[in-house]
């Protein structure tokens, strides 16, 4: 079995050259960030991911987390690894500096997150949820709440969870029913939350649940939901975990993948109500969730990049060792490893080229998120915010959908052994499968894209991004002109489809939502092509420098060419579906299905 090796070269290439680390270093608060620091951080993170987290990935899958008497026990080795993880300070990577975090920008923390996810996605979900809670606190917590919870969450002594989903409220969070009744300086929370990731476990000293619930007098729907902090142990005055709160895990799910990550049914208020503290103002809970959504959704998009990378490395290793058949046209002589077969090459290139495109788009989004957060100029800040709002649903849904396909190709390269658990290839496919579902399904991301992000604003930001793509296509000349032409055609398709969405959105929204997912995939496919064309341009320039890593840059250009020849042509098909495919989606009556 292969072991994970962090793709540092590609990561650093994308960070430094494509996403533009220099621009990030110029932002206020990011002055300390430079290429040398990034290399040191990524280098040490790679070691930790490879040596500590990865060896637990199979163990976690096989053993899973276990529940007995409301106590969840994580798989062997996880607790110790978590301890090591937090002692090494990794939990505080992007955290607020005033509370012990390192305050590193997304363009640094997200690549590190990719490594955690490649090596052990189920483990990584625990710190990832904590960082989600921290993000919500950063924006909406009171000074007292920040003091009380943020240092411990930043160090990882305590972990965090997101309690949104209920049996009747999944994609539609407006249907949340969990109750919050005021009592003195706090609230009594009661109700059932389902699917709560790492909702209960033995790795941290305390668990801080962020819970969506309704006040007794709250209005119906989205404007009647509030956000509460509900700690597993109520903190004592000195900050230590105190009295056990009235919240418990009543069951955990048996699932397709991420077995090590407990997915908990959480029961609040069986003994009269769990003590909860309101975050921000009443009835604004869903709005608050939205402020941290970009952060969380980019995180899941990165899971897609990460698991796809792992599946690729695993398949590549197998392709280099499995001997089967002879080279095309040879009837005698030695049998060869399957990497000699053209179709296996095609599968590997299919994986590799899309992963590199996905990584580039995800890191570009990270850089854009940093600029939206830190840019000193208000207009620039707004512009970057609009771009990131547009890109997030694309990165989340496209990277995860492609990841499922890539992990499936990984199984295919293993032949029969891919279907057998022993090789480990199947785990990546099983783990990947959740990424298109949680944090908003692909359907919900696509709705967001065609609705809030393109339809309502009449395509203004989308067209601005398309104009940037055109600049890249136009600059792909000389040896890269074939790439430029392929990209141009794909951009035409994207622009036409975008125009159709804008034109149709008011008069026939149902038609728009019927083709929202093909439109999102079109956006991702062309966005990926844009990134690969830029990568090829940079590679072309860099390879001429003295001492350049010619092998790396040539590989990049060839990979970009493959993307243009094999992936980008799909854009025309998606466009056709978008502009002409809505009717048949909606034509059948329910009874005709």
């Amino acid at each position: 079995m292969s072991s994970y090796v962090a793709p540092l070269k590609d990561m650093l290439f994308v960070i430094n050259e494509l996403a533009g680390l220099d621009d990030i270093s110029k932002l206020p608060g990011c002055e300390e960030v430079n290429a040398e620091l990034v290399e040191a951080v990524l280098g040490e993170a790679a070691k930790f991911a490879q040596e500590v987290l990865e060896p637990l990935n199979r163990v976690g899958d096989k053993e899973g987390s276990k529940l007995a008497n409301h106590v969840v026990t994580s798989p062997a080795g996880f607790k110790a690894a978590y301890q090591q993880f937090r002692e090494a300070g990794w939990n505080g990577l992007g955290g607020m500096t005033e509370y012990g975090g390192q305050g590193l920008p997304h363009l640094v923390s997200n690549p590190v997150q990719e490594m955690w996810n490649s090596s052990n996605m189920a483990f990584c979900l625990c710190p990832m949820l904590t960082s989600g809670v921290l993000e919500a606190m950063r924006h909406h917590g009171s000074p007292e709440q920040l003091q009380r919870y943020v240092p411990k969450l930043t160090s990882g002594e305590w972990s965090g969870t997101m309690n949104l989903t209920e049996p009747q409220a999944g994609s539609d969070l407006a249907a949340v029913r969990t109750k919050a009744v005021p009592e003195g300086d706090h609230y009594k929370i009661s109700g059932t939350k389902i699917f709560i990731t790492w909702g209960e476990h033995d790795m941290a000293d305390n668990i801080v649940h962020l819970v969506l619930a309704r006040l007794p007098d709250a209005p119906e729907g989205v404007k009647g939901i509030s956000l509460f902090i509900v700690p597993k142990f109520l903190p004592n005055a000195d900050g230590s975990p105190g009295e056990r709160n009235d919240v418990k895990c009543v069951s955990i799910e048996h699932k397709l993948g991420i077995h090590a990550s407990p997915t908990c049914v959480m029961q609040y208020g069986d003994a009269g109500g769990a003590v909860g503290y309101l975050v921000g103002e009443a009835n604004r809970g869903l709005e608050y969730m939205f402020t941290m959504m970009n952060h969380a959704r980019l995180g899941v998009g990165l899971e897609g990049v990460a698991v796809a990378e792992r599946a690729y490395q695993h398949a590549l290793e197998y392709a280099k060792t499995r001997v089967q058949g002879r080279e095309v046209g040879q009837r005698s002589g030695d049998r060869v490893t399957i990497i000699h077969h053209p179709d296996v090459r095609r599968m590997l290139m299919h994986m590799k080229s899309q992963i590199e495109a996905m990584r580039a788009l995800a890191y570009l989004s990270a850089a854009t998120l940093d600029k939206a957060k830190h840019h000193p100029d208000a207009a620039e800040k707004r512009r970057h915010q609009a771009v990131i709002d547009l890109l997030i649903p694309v990165v989340k849904a496209w990277c995860t959908e492609q990841c499922v396909e890539i992990a499936s190709t990984g199984v295919q390269i293993h032949g029969g052994m891919g279907f057998v658990e022993e090789t480990g290839a199947a785990q990546y496919l099983r783990d990947a499968r959740i990424t298109t579902i949680y944090e908003g399904t692909t359907g919900i991301q696509a709705n967001d894209l065609v609705g809030r992000k393109v339809g309502y604003e009449k395509g203004v930001t989308a067209m601005a991004v398309i104009a940037q793509m055109r600049e890249t296509a136009a600059a792909s000349t000389g040896d890269l002109s074939a790439i430029g032409q392929a990209l141009s055609r794909a951009i035409d398709a994207l622009q036409e489809a975008t125009q159709w969405i804008v034109d149709t959105f008011q008069k026939n929204p149902n038609a728009v939502y019927a083709v929202a997912v093909p439109y999102l995939k079109l956006f991702g496919t062309v966005g990926g092509g844009w990134m690969m064309a830029r990568a090829a341009q940079i590679a072309q320039c860099k390879r001429a420098e003295p001492g350049a890593d010619v092998g790396f840059y040539d590989t990049k250009v060839t990979t970009a060419r493959f993307y243009c020849e094999h992936i980008l042509p799909q854009a025309a098909g998606f466009r056709q579906t978008v502009v002409a495919g809505a009717d048949s989606v909606l034509a059948l009556s329910e009874a005709q299905f």
Partner: protein, 249 residues
């Protein structure tokens, strides 16, 4: 007590090493580099001794191109206090390394020098020994344990027959073997702090040392590919082959 540790920059052990097409050496350009694992153990030992209150200052030295600064930063992220880069583009051979280190030892006056027993690239296993000889200091190589008590150090060495215990007078040069300790994972806050620790850059000339190579590499080539094995029918045949063909027993 002040300690001097060394940190050589070598090809990362995860990387597959390739011989240059012209046979002059191995490919190091654009290859991931890291701190020599035995030097890492040496640094770890110094840091542990500092944490135990025996050592007051750790100075880390690397000799080579400018990029060795990264190696020094790694050692400083582990806990070394300051760094010295002796910058040179020359291929530095063991005797040159020992001479450079001697000059630095004379300047810094450490009570103990801890080095890796060898570097995983050239596997020379000579620098520590040469340095001790040049300084006229005691040496203890391939150590798996060290405790310093005042003017002497109790040492355990790994030798073919087992473990050898000895006492050396300090100042001394010791070289670390694999089982001396297990180096820690560098923590993120310490990576950030390492950026601010002092790092001095000096040239061999300034130390009055000529680092010109004295050995000439004639040719580097890949080891011969292993040919296919043969299946033996039973133990008797195996023993016979080991005796008569392989002549190893």
């Amino acid at each position: 007590m002040k300690v001097l540790v060394t940190a050589k920059r070598v090809i990362d052990p995860y990387v597959k090493v390739r011989v240059k097409s012209d046979g002059t050496g191995v490919e190091t350009a654009n290859v991931k580099m890291t701190i020599n694992p035995f030097c890492e153990i040496a640094v770890e030992q110094a840091v542990r001794m500092k944490e135990a209150g025996i050592v007051t200052e750790i100075v880390v030295v690397s000799i080579g191109p400018l990029q060795c600064q990264e190696t020094i930063r790694t050692a400083m992220a582990m806990g070394a206090d300051r760094g010295i880069l002796v910058e040179t583009a020359e291929e530095v051979q063991p005797l040159a390394v020992a001479k450079v280190l001697k000059a630095i030892v004379e300047k810094e006056q450490p009570r103990l020098v801890i080095m890796g027993k060898q570097a995983i690239d050239d596997d020379s296993n000579q620098c520590g020994q040469m340095l001790a000889a040049l300084l006229g200091w005691p040496q203890a190589t391939h150590i798996s344990n060290v405790t310093v008590n005042g003017d002497s150090a109790e040492i355990t060495r790994e030798i073919d027959g087992g473990l050898e215990k000895l006492t050396v007078k300090v100042p001394a040069v010791v070289t670390a073997d694999l089982r001396l300790n297990e180096p820690r994972y560098v923590t993120l806050p310490n990576i950030m702090k390492a950026k601010k620790k002092p790092l001095e850059n000096i040239k061999p000339d300034a130390l009055g040392v000529d680092v010109k190579p004295r050995l000439k590499t004639l040719k580097v080539e890949e080891p011969a590919k292993r040919s296919a094995g043969v299946k033996v029918a039973d133990v008797q045949e195996l023993v016979a082959k080991l005796k008569n063909e392989a002549r190893v027993i």
